[in-house]
Symmetry: C2
Subunit: 166 residues, 2 copies
DNA sequence: CTTGGAAAGTCAACAAGGCTGACATAAAAT
DNA sequence: ATTTTATGTCAGCCTTGTTGACTTTCCAAG
C-alpha cells in the first residue's frame, strides 16, 4: 500500500475519464491502423484476414499451420478458408514437413511477398508518421502500455517475434 | 532536413523491424482490449457493435443518430440494426428532438446504463492495469502515438470527447 | 506391428456485423 | 411549393468469425 490515496503522479491520472479516453484512443487509432491496408485490399478478393496471414508468414517463414492458428487466435476452419485461397492463387507455398510430414510449412511465394510488401509499406508509413510525430520517448511508452494490455498468451507470441534492434 | 541520416535518437528506432513490432503490438493489444467485454457479451444477444453504441451514448448523452454514425464510422443501416434492438430491449431511449423534430436524441435507460457500466468496468480494469504496469510517462506516450495514428476525422471526434483532468 | 492420438484438411451450417441500393416519412430550409 | 436533411426500413450480399462432424495422414508408444 505504498501508493494508496497519496496522489503521487503514479495514480493521479487513473480517473475513469482518463481511462475512458484511453479506451477511445484505442478504438479510433485501430481504425486508422487498418485503414490503409483495407483500402489496398478492397477490390481484390482478399480482406483483413488475408493480410494478417501474409504478415505473420512473412515474419516467421516456414511456420506451421498450427503455430499460425495460435498466433492469430482463430479456428482452423477460419484460417483454412483464407489460407486455401492464398495457396490456390499462388501467394503462399505450403510444404509438407520433412521431419514431420503431417505439418505444413508456410512460405510466401513471390506474388505473396509482393502483396505483403505493399500492405506493409502502407501500414508502416502510417506507423512511422505517428512515431515521428510523437517522438522516441512516446514510442517506448506506447509499446509498454500495449504490451501490458495483451493477454498472457498473446504477449508470449509477441515477445517471441524477433526484433533486430531494440 | 535537420535529422536525415544523422542518427540522433530521433530516427534510429525507425527500422522496419521496429515498425513491424509496433504493428504487431497493436494487433495483439487490440485483442486483449476487446476480450473482456466480448466475454461478458457472449451469451447475451449483443455484440461488440452494441458495446460501442452504449459506450458513445454514455459519453455523449443526447447525441443524435447522425452524430453517432459519424463517430462510429459505419452506415446507418448497420447502426440501425444495433440501435433498434437496444431500444426495443429498453437499454436506450430515443427522444424526438425539441428544436428539430427530425432528430432523435439518444440516452441510456437504466438497463443500458447498467450494462454499459459492467462492460466499461471490465475494459477499464484492463486499461488501468496496463497503465499501472507501464507507468505515467508511458501512458502519455501511448496516447500521443495513438492520436497521431488516427485519421483526421477520427482525431476530431476523439479530441471533442471531454476529459476532465489531463 | 498395431493402435492411439495429433496435425491437417474439408464440408455444412450458422451468426455478427459490415456493405449497397431502394424506398418512405417527416420536418426543416430554401 | 420544392428541395434537402434526418431517420428508419426492407432486401440482399460479403467477410470473417463460430461449431460440429468426419477423413486422411502419420508419428510414437505399447
Amino acid at each position: 500500500m505504498t501508493t494508496e490515496a497519496g496522489g503521487s503522479e503514479n495514480l493521479l491520472f487513473l480517473t475513469d475519464e482518463q481511462l475512458r479516453k484511453g479506451i477511445e484512443a484505442m478504438f479510433f487509432a485501430y481504425r486508422g491502423f487498418t485503414a490503409d491496408p483495407d483500402r489496398i485490399l478492397e477490390g481484390m478478393d482478399y480482406g483483413r484476414a488475408h493480410h494478417r496471414a501474409l504478415h505473420f508468414i512473412h515474419r516467421s517463414p516456414g511456420t506451421t499451420v498450427n503455430n499460425l492458428l495460435s498466433i492469430l487466435g482463430v479456428t482452423k476452419q477460419s484460417l483454412n478458408r483464407v489460407l486455401r485461397t492464398l495457396i490456390e492463387d499462388g501467394l503462399v507455398e505450403s510444404k509438407v514437413g520433412r521431419a514431420d510430414k503431417r505439418e505444413r510449412h508456410l512460405h510466401l511465394a513471390p506474388k505473396g511477398a509482393e502483396l505483403e510488401r505493399r500492405l506493409s509499406d502502407a501500414q508502416r508509413a502510417r506507423m512511422r508518421a505517428a512515431y515521428r510525430a510523437a517522438g522516441p520517448a512516446a514510442v517506448q511508452g506506447f509499446r509498454q502500455v500495449l504490451e501490458a494490455m495483451m493477454d498472457a498468451e498473446a504477449r508470449r507470441h509477441y515477445q517471441s517475434l524477433k526484433e533486430t534492434n531494440t
